[in-house]
Symmetry: C2
């Protein structure tokens, strides 16, 4: 087996740890970084260090934040009476991109999954309940994924939130806009038919 | 458009500059780096910096090297009478992995491509010719890619090297070992038929 110089081998190893980056891609990326000029490579290294040094989680909603509160929680233009519960900070970004929701968020950083040892405590359910009660939130949209764990978590949250008097909703599931009906999977199509509405 | 905190946005930008990493993948990688523990992220940042600080090119063959000479040029076990000319340091790695070649290398870092303004000077052809003459090299294997530029470069090198008395060869092209004949492309199959050998 040919030996790479130690620093290059180490870079390949570190890149291989990234999700979706196999050994071949890691090698290609390492050789690319070897070729680019030093300022470019330094910019990437610094960006990684800066993210770790300067980004944390919002103490109110657990979204990513530069400081104690995230940009959404600290905005005066958001409606504090509606809370959207999501699995990850990534989901916040997706919903913000859709520009339809103007309330606040609560990021679970996971879903209930007994097999993986993740229960309600691991995803801060008590903090969510406290917040809904203390802030008198009127509606909680449970926007966990439409997979088994996501649905089970949604059901759990619905049961825990209902006694607090808040309306608990879930985003609509159905055919994607602009999508061909014939290409929809059976579950999506079944949901779309069951959830049909009048014009 | 939702705003990411500045350091995270900058990391997404820097990751997007890597080859084969689109904006979505860059975002996924950036969020991953945000989640991993600080030592892990620091290890990647340091590996990038170390590669730039400690790895350069071999002054004899232009392969990657930690120091003035690469590990191949500084090995006493390599045969200095055979030289393999390749397009990139990546190709050196591939040939070393095959463990069939025990000579030395010359890395062109490119191919002749008039459209891209790359002529013989840009790929160090004069240094190659000087080396073959000065070191009395007996055989030069021109292992550039089997595409148009690689073939044109091989032909150019063959003409330039022949007057120096060295045997100029090219790796065999044909069916991949273990490959199904019916899946081979036409050019490869044509090469395999034309280059057929007796048992």
């Amino acid at each position: 087996v040919p030996q790479l110089p130690e620093p290059l081998e180490r870079l390949v190893q570190e890149l291989s740890r990234l999700p979706g980056i196999g050994p071949k891609t890691a090698q290609r990326l390492a050789f690319h970084l070897l070729r680019v000029d030093r300022a470019r490579a330094a910019a990437l290294a610094t960006a990684i260090e800066d993210v770790k040094a300067r980004i944390g989680y919002c103490e109110r909603c657990y979204n990513i934040a530069e400081g104690p509160l995230c940009s959404i929680c600290s905005s005066p233009r958001r409606d504090p009476s509606v809370l959207c519960v999501v699995e990850s900070a990534f989901d916040v970004l997706a919903i913000e991109r859709a520009a339809e929701f103007s309330g606040l968020y609560f990021v679970l950083h996971g879903v209930i999954s007994p097999i993986d040892g993740i229960g309600p405590e691991q995803i801060h359910v008590q903090q969510l309940l406290d917040r809904v009660r203390d802030e008198g939130i009127g509606e909680v949209i449970v926007a966990t994924d439409a997979d088994i764990e996501g649905e089970a978590t949604a059901l759990y949250l619905q049961r825990a939130l209902s006694p607090l008097g808040a309306t608990v909703t879930r985003p609509a599931h159905g055919l994607p806009v602009g999508g061909d009906l014939e290409y929809a999977d059976e579950l999506t199509l079944a949901r779309a038919m069951a959830g049909r509405r009048t014009f």
